[in-house]
Symmetry: D2
Subunit: 296 residues, 4 copies
């Protein structure tokens, strides 16, 4: 059904893996009421997202009042609550600006999610307000090679599939040492993140270029941050890519209406079918990424 | 709303022009019942397509039994029947394999449609059957420069906007003599045709490359032939492109169901809204292409 | 030594194959005195080109007064005179505007050169004079699929390696039927021809795009027609490509001075060394292209 | 003479600006005897480089024993010694790993070189040893937006042309806020740096992509670090780019022989002529970059 095109790489041209980024770390219910905080709320959203077409739930833990937390117990409870309800693949964040690596490794080792995100390079991470001609925030997002290596080692030793988050062309190139020394095993699983000021700008041209840099058997998804998300989803689906939507990345439907995690996934599933593809099940996603299928 | 990206070129990032290719020349009601033949049938489909989001109707004339015809009277009747019912922009084909240039110029001169298609180069035009290991058809589609020049002259003299159909990278490059001598005036209006064996293969990578070759102020649409159409539509919408759908190019909805011209346009309009854009009206399309707005 | 880059494809990053296009069909000694006509003259140039770094001699036969000829005896004599003097790989043209396929197949079958060129698609083939605002020539270069197939069959049956001349993106795509039915065997050997009006324009951007379309194990060279040749040579050498120079394609050194076949090859060899690569020997070229090494 | 290609952007297709990176900060005479340390040595190399084709000298100050220094007096003496001998444009580095911004702004303000380099983003800056399976060094090169802004302001107030060093695709995108608020004025002058682990990998494909991201009127050069330099020079010259060579970036001629600044520039000038272009004079370079021509 799908175009025979190089950009499919290791993905399935007929099935698209939809990931739901349920929580994120930075936004709050003041901005968007539907963000889940507690393990139960997160698990309910995960189950509803699965129902609507998601195969993966990407999760940052929160305290009950919504602050970001790296507490292993909370991550454990999230894992259990989700798994009780649904077979969706569980993907934990490991990113943070000011949290030491050790505390971000601990819950990965203890809980062993199916997948964990891993930031593949350093960059500026900023937001600019044209009105005020000033930077709303202006940080250096530090992910040196030795930290990347520590994450890779822990994930490999614990059977956790790394999801390599690449915010720029060089971040994709940063796999080279770990391919050479065997710490990264095929099929490598990439997220091409676009739309953060400091990283690669969110254009289809740039997405196509990022995909060209990937190994032939790599799996990949696009992560579009904020308003450009739906256009990047539309392009990625055409290219044979997988996609991520959810309140971590963008609150709004294409119409501009504020939404919820299950609704955003439903729209992503509709768009998947509009290019003649079907949403992959968690079992199909697991097979493509060469990980153990989820068991309820 | 749209991404600030180079690929928008002279298009409107917020509005997508949807063209409906209602008839074509090669297919018949034996293959797809919903193909309109008579001027009245064509005009009814044009009006319904306009209702569902189309701003342009691209038309090949047919006799009552469905054969292709280059008869000026029939083209005149089509023009009148369409214009009686709707303000959609009227775009006539000029392509043919074995019809002399003169007869294809005559109806353009006589009827003066808003837009006329113009093939910008020669190529093989073939279909290969893998099962039979043979070519279903294997032609040389001849469009030498002197014929291109004749069409351009006639169109310019009659106030007809050329739509440059480019089946390969070199066809885009073939504008060079006509830009240098002033026969092509900005904004040049391109159709990037993909999916014919002999021309550029229908991949997003190739679409992106074709768009890169266009002048900065050019307007453009993608024309995807057969099954790859919806993926190319999905990619083009993300890139800021205009799109064409209709029974000339493809009979099927993304689901695989055989369809009709109005339904195909409705699906294209839905996909346009899914990237946060709106279908352009005929008046908006006319303004973008610098042509006279249609009058009922 | 060379960059690890995708564009190398099946080439050798450390060795560049230099082809010398000694004669061509269209130009005469009135335009450039150094064009060889007779088998002896051609063979002398082949030997001198080999001495200066060429691994392949690409040859069109000529009569004694310089007219193009498809005479099998002359091709046979060329083969013998060249092989008497040097181990350069012998590559015969098969292209022509108005010569029937049969006569172009005959000398391939009879003489069995190491390599033969094969045009992979149809296109306009023209030259435009800006001063006169007119086309100096304006032809349709016809190479339908059934003729391509005939050439492929004859070459395969006679142990002649095809060199696929691709003047546009679609021409590369035209390999699809012949890959599917097994008539084209890896490593496929491509020439990316650039600089003819009607085909793909001669830019580095376009060269890079053409290379991206090739199979991973394909060998490739760039053929730049006229003044743009040296820039395309410079880019191709950087990309890991092979190169062609010679009086068929361009008479002039980069300085603008009219030159000879051996001098043009010497300049190409110097440029090869300037990117840290070495000219391949005929034996090395044969191994890369999977053909029998030449025997004196 | 040059190809009409988009990649030329604001450069001169007929003239290439050669920059000589004479010193750098990290390497020593133990590694390469010919590195100049003192103002006099640097000025002698600048004059010899100018003689051989360089239009710009890019300089990091050193103490007498070769350590990097940010001392304003030394930068002042370098400026005077160079200007006494030659009209080459003077370009000062502003980059450093652990030196505060203030001390890097001071000598720019005090000495007012023609041009000053400015790093446009953060990234990992590392070197990996395959033999030892370890990182030889592994740093985060921090250049947050507020520091970039400080440099831009100081340069603009002192009539110093910024040379934007971009190590990745996102770094090119980082101009956006400064274009919007007018702090960056056209023609923007880019250096596309390739070959540092952590930044964009040094392929022609990546170079072409970086160039595509630039504004149409931007000037640009490629800076290839270490062995890939000559290939990137070869590609950039073909694309209409400017080039940088010198002991800061690479000690070796394409043959592998260790070299000197004047010899490296002579090779770059030879390669420039091999694509039919000429080295620009300092006055021609100044005009292209819209800066005051140098006065002796
Ligand atoms: Zn996250
Ligand atoms: Zn048509
Ligand atoms: Zn030839
Ligand atoms: Zn420097």
């Amino acid at each position: 059904m799908a175009i025979e095109q190089e950009s499919v790489k290791g993905n399935d041209p007929d099935k698209a893996i939809i990931s739901a980024s349920l929580t994120g770390a930075l936004t709050t219910r003041d901005q968007c009421e539907a963000i889940p905080y507690t393990p139960e709320e997160i698990a309910e959203d995960a189950a509803a997202a699965r129902e609507n077409g998601a195969a993966v739930a990407h999760i940052h833990a929160r305290t009950e009042n919504g602050s970001p937390t790296f507490d292993t117990d909370i991550y454990q409870r999230i894992y259990e609550e989700v798994r009780e309800r649904t077979d969706v693949l569980i993907n934990f964040s490991t990113g943070a600006m000011h949290e030491p690596v050790e505390s971000r490794l601990e819950y990965i080792e203890a809980v062993e999610p199916d997948i964990a995100a891993l930031n593949m390079g350093s960059m500026n991470y900023a937001k600019y307000s044209e009105n005020r001609d000033d930077f709303v925030f202006d940080m250096v997002f530090e992910n040196p090679f030795n930290e990347i290596r520590d994450f890779l080692t822990t994930m490999r030793e614990n059977g956790v599939k790394p999801e390599l988050e690449c915010f720029d062309t060089g971040h994709v190139g940063n796999i080279r040492p770990f391919v050479q020394n065997g710490e990264l095993e095929a099929p490598i699983n990439f997220s091409l993140v676009m739309g953060v000021l400091g990283g690669i700008p969110p254009t289809v041209e740039n997405l196509a270029h990022q995909v060209r840099q990937l190994p032939d058997d790599a799996t990949w998804q696009v992560i579009g941050i904020s308003r450009e998300q739906w256009q990047l989803v539309s392009a990625a689906l055409a290219m044979g890519g997988n996609i991520r939507v959810g309140l971590e990345d963008n609150f709004y439907l294409p119409s501009g209406e504020m939404s919820t995690n299950p609704e955003l996934v439903a729209k992503a599933a509709e768009m998947t079918r509009n290019v003649g593809r079907e949403p992959a099940t968690p079992a199909e996603a697991a097979e493509l990424m060469c990980i153990e299928p989820p068991h309820l």
